[in-house]
Amino acid sequence: MQMGEVRFSLLYVADAAVTLPEFAEADFQSKPANGARILNGKVPESLMANEEVVDHGRRRFLTVTTAVVGGAGVIAAVVPFIKSWEPSARAKAAGAPVTVDISAIEAGQKVTFAWRSLPVFVVNRTKDQLAQLKGLEPRLLDPLSSDAAQQPKYATNETRSIKPEWLVVIGLCTHLGCVPDFVPDIKPEPFDANWKGGFYCPCHKSRYDLSGRVFSGVPAPKNLPVPPYHFIDDTHIQIGVDPQEAG
């Protein structure tokens, strides 16, 4: 009779272990003696019956199945909450392509426009400034703009632009996202005795040339990104749309 009692306990432990190890260990390893005393060495018929009734395979199968199905449900319910952090319809509408008039930007001047709340620098570079780009290659990290993520194909050239004089870049330093200063003059600067004009980030002293190409030896790892843009006519560009998309 005692054997029956013990066997039942073990069976139960094996089963409960699936769902709740603490319960099984805490109760049954320490208490069979108590149980035996209370039961006066007699196993009630109902307990004997249990042994046959409990279908452990079925129980485990149901537990696992409901856990999997319920888990899938919880994951599905979490998705809307994660998705709610995506840019909203308003943010997307505000991030729509913007058309800007560049006719008033004089040679050598930079104007900043907002696109998707980002500062977009549009620089009208002089012939002189463009000429300086040539000799800089050895001092640059990525002079050939080999990182395709930093500019569209049509801006993968020395001037990193569609029209040589017009530079369009997103004015956020690729180091930690500060807005670099536009320092166009070709003259020695405190941060660079051999300065040929470009962008200088006040936060951590990263430097870029007038094509937005990053110098080597500064914290910033990449060239300034060029957004998609195209010329509507000679005096208007649309930022946010590639030339081929605009037809």
């Binding site: 109902s46 307990l47 019956a49 249990n50 009734v53 409990v54 279908d55 079925r58 129980r59 149901l62 537990t63 199945t65 409901t66 199905v69 319920g70 449900g73 599905a76 319809a89 997307k92 509408a93 505000a94 729509a96």
Partner: protein, 251 residues
């Protein structure tokens, strides 16, 4: 034992049932149903066309973006921008009427309300019946009155379609004005009465959509959610039943 369980259940159901007359009574004014079906894309498109031809002159839909209309009504960007957008707004911008607020006040005595949420505030059926119930009333400042919304300050924008309605008054009780008994078409419009009811239904449907654009998604998603939950609940029932064999055996 079963009896007791059932009586408990009956009590719970009884409590739930006690609230039913309350819900039934909430309907309020018994207007004829518009029969609007917000899932009917063709009706929504017709309603949108009517709205942008006859309503947007005065009423905005400031919570509705043109881009959202395109997605939800199965229209292309060009269709929306060429056929619905007459104000020069951008695709992503909301529908704002071009009527200056000052002149609106001067003409109608009040600003024409934004209609984005009209169907939720007043009901789709209200809009439908309101549109059908304009009649000529020389005593009103704008020359129009409405049986569903008496003394509305709005003229019938759709009179070209519906024609001109006049009121047939019943016998006046002493000291009171005669009540409007029914409305009759005095001069037919471009649409037959049946066609016009369809147009009013389309407009009401469109405004039901603008009041809750999510209605289009929630019902189609809801079906799957409910099916999943019913299956899960069934599984949970089986699980509960399986575990509770222990309890039922040991008493």
């Amino acid at each position: 034992m079963i009896k007791r369980y059932l009586s408990s259940l009956a009590l719970a159901l009884g409590l739930a049932a006690a609230t039913v007359p309350a819900f039934a009574a909430e309907g309020g004014e018994d207007l004829p149903s518009a029969g609007a079906n917000v899932a009917d894309k063709a009706s929504l498109q017709r309603g949108a066309k009517l709205f942008f031809n006859y309503c947007v002159g005065c009423h905005s839909l400031k919570y509705v973006r043109y881009s959202r209309l395109a997605t939800d009504l199965d229209l292309s960007e060009d269709e929306v921008m060429n056929n619905l957008n007459f104000t020069g707004a951008k695709f992503g911008e909301p529908v704002i009427s071009h009527m200056p607020a000052d002149s609106a006040k001067a003409w109608f005595g009040k600003d024409p309300p934004d209609l984005s949420l009209e169907a939720r505030a007043k009901g789709t059926d209200f809009i439908y019946n309101y549109l059908l119930s304009f009649y000529l009333d020389p005593s009103r400042p704008v020359g129009w009155n409405n049986t569903v919304f008496p003394n509305a300050s709005m003229p019938n924008p759709l009179w070209e379609l519906q024609g001109l309605q006049v009121a047939v008054h019943g016998a006046a009780k002493p000291g009171e004005e005669a009540a409007v008994e029914k409305l009759e078409i005095a001069q037919p419009g471009r649409m037959s009465p049946e066609e016009f009811k369809g147009a009013a239904r389309d407009l009401a449907t469109f405004l039901e959509y603008t009041a809750e654009p999510a209605a289009l998604q929630r019902q189609s998603i809801g079906v799957w959610v409910i099916l999943f939950l019913v299956a899960l609940t069934f599984l949970l029932y089986l699980l509960k039943h399986e575990y509770w064999k222990d309890v039922h055996e040991s008493h």
